[in-house]
């Protein structure tokens, strides 16, 4: 691997094709969303316009898009905060290797591998039988947590498996209380990973479809609204919506990644005072 071999170039080409395969279709609808007013769902472009974006902002002919966006955003934040808090607590719990933690671990894996539609159906049935109204903020919220929490916990396990315990011991030796150790030593060290957990929590919730399908109630979340549109909207307005929500997702991802990067920079600057003593 010292010199660039032939296989390097072959694999580079393969990787480039893979990236094209990943992003190509999304870029295509990005372009097509600027289709002229007379254009259809495929190429050729009949001129370019902002017509389809304008249509999204007009009083809806196509459903309650902005209402569903607000609900998805609120739900995403709720799921994000809950996922971070519950995953961190769970991560701390699992470090203690408490009795029965093995079973709980397999439950987490089960939550990850169980087909989403079963959660949707089961939660819907429970609410139905108990005479409760399904609502995105109750039944929908809980159903989404069964998908985001396993990711959050797996990240926490990975983090704590690599965590150097001598930091905690040092804090304790200096007289820190258990709470102070967590607050001033452990949490700052794992902070970047918590941002990662938050990213999973928000985006997985924001895009979740199957688990909210039967648990959202009469007010749709955005993915449900978009899916509804696919059956009765045959104009590029759906591409315009797709482009906007993808841009929004990218913005969120960018914000999270930027935060991690800034934290890393600050840590590199302030992290160690080695060699600066007397």
């Amino acid at each position: 691997m010292e010199k660039k071999s032939k296989s390097f170039y072959v694999l580079t080409a393969f990787f480039a094709l893979f990236i094209l395969f990943l992003y190509g279709p999304t870029l295509t609808i990005g372009i097509l969303s600027f289709q002229g007013p007379g254009g259809g769902l495929t190429f050729p472009m009949q001129g370019t316009s902002l017509n389809w974006f304008r249509e999204l902002f007009q009083e809806q002919a196509v459903g309650d898009i902005w209402g569903s966006f607000r609900r998805s955003f609120a739900l995403g934040l709720m799921v994000m905060v809950t996922t971070v808090v519950v995953s961190v607590m769970g991560g701390f719990a699992f470090r203690k290797r408490f009795y029965g933690s093995g079973i709980l671990f397999y439950l987490i894996i089960a939550s990850l591998v169980i087909p989403s539609i079963l959660i949707s159906l089961g939660v819907g049935l429970i609410f139905n039988q108990l005479g409760l109204k399904i609502h995105w903020a109750t039944s929908g919220f809980g159903s989404q947590l069964t998908w985001t929490l396993p990711f959050g916990l797996l990240i926490m396990f990975a983090v704590f498996n690599r965590f150097d315990k001598s930091f905690e011991e040092a804090a304790r030796d200096q007289g820190a209380s258990p709470w102070q150790t967590v607050r001033y030593v452990v949490l700052p060290i794992i902070a970047p990973s918590l941002i990662g957990v938050g990213l999973f929590g928000f985006t997985l919730s924001y895009d979740e479809f199957a688990r909210t399908l039967l648990t959202a109630g009469s007010y749709n979340t955005l993915p449900l609204e978009i899916f509804g549109m696919t059956t009765n909207v045959t104009t590029p307005v759906i591409y315009a919506l797709g482009t906007l929500t993808t841009l929004f997702s990218l913005l969120i991802i960018g914000a999270f990644l930027l935060t991690v990067w800034v934290l890393g920079k600050r840590r590199a600057r302030f992290g160690s005072d080695a060699g600066q003593g007397v």
Binding site: T26, S101, L107, G122, G242
Partner: protein, 284 residues
């Protein structure tokens, strides 16, 4: 009392446990119970009957649909593994600069955080009758009329699965590959192994846990899917998930529940077999 680590552990894990009981265990118990109920056109009737299961196992459609589900899972698995392994191998062993490595890895993972529905919709202008693929094939003279099987077919369903889920192979395989001790590869080379021999005799065996985790993700996602099949096949193909969602749409909850129970058992058997080959807790 509070000093006991078992009690402390359970206290800290209590929010997690409560959520999993309320939204994972209870729903599954409910599904199992309801699968023995009966339904009329308007309501579901509590009871205990094997009617739903008898109907399910008595219908040839069931076997066909289960076969289709396994077919989708097997083909998608093979393709995501081949692509995912190659991409992970490239990132882990051919990219030496760590910043580049992280950047390219992120480039592979970003689509995971965007909407699956949008990513499915975005294939339409590509695969449609007058889509990019067809016009390209025609202008190159490969076909003289548009291919009809590009969209709304098994082809488009599997294409979408591969598009959506290859990521779930790349990430765990890359993760195990980066932890391979490079001195092992040097040792293989010093002993005269060719690049290909190093790949098959050293890297591949050491990457097995990552492959297994990726396999678990891909198989469960494909087997439990209903929306990709419905959307990408234009409702012309079926898998078990669609069988369930169709029953739900007809308010036939007991019958949907029975199918769901069989699907769950199938998935759990597959996972059970795979977990014999990998200890997930060790791989994190």
């Amino acid at each position: 009392m509070l000093k006991n680590r078992h009690i402390q552990g359970w206290l800290q894990a209590s929010p997690l446990t409560l959520i999993l009981i309320g939204f994972l265990i209870l729903p599954i118990i409910t599904i199992v119970v309801v699968s023995f109920w009966q339904a009329t056109e308007f309501s579901i009737i509590p009871g205990f009957s094997f009617e739903n299961y008898e109907f399910l196992f008595g219908s040839p459609v069931t076997y066909k649909v289960f076969f289709a589900t396994f077919k989708y899972a097997a083909i998608t698995w093979a393709m995501t593994l081949a692509i995912g392994f190659t991409v992970a191998y490239y990132l882990a062993f051919h990219i030496q600069n760590q910043t580049t490595q992280i950047a390219l890895f992120l480039l592979c993972t970003i689509p995971f955080w965007t909407s699956n529905i949008i990513r499915m919709i975005s294939w339409i202008p590509f695969l449609g009758r007058n889509g990019i693929a067809n016009s390209m094939l025609q202008s190159w003279g490969i076909t003289d009329q548009p291919l009809e099987w590009l969209l709304y077919s098994d082809f488009s369903v599997i294409l979408a699965f591969v598009h959506l889920y290859t990521l779930f192979m790349v990430v765990p395989i890359f993760n195990t590959m980066t932890r391979i001790d490079h001195s092992l590869i040097e040792a293989a080379r010093d002993n005269g192994a060719s690049g290909f021999q190093t790949l098959t005799h050293v890297i591949l065996p050491l990457t097995k846990p990552g492959i297994m985790i990726g396999t678990i993700f891909v198989l469960t996602l494909v087997m439990g899917d209903f929306i990709t099949v419905r959307f990408m096949s234009g409702s012309q193909k079926a898998n078990v998930g669609r069988l369930i969602s169709n029953d739900i749409a007809l308010l036939q909850y007991p019958s949907a529940a029975a199918t769901a129970v069989i699907l769950l058992i199938t998935v759990l058997i597959v996972i059970g077999i795979l977990l014999r080959f990998v200890d997930i807790r060790k791989e994190l």
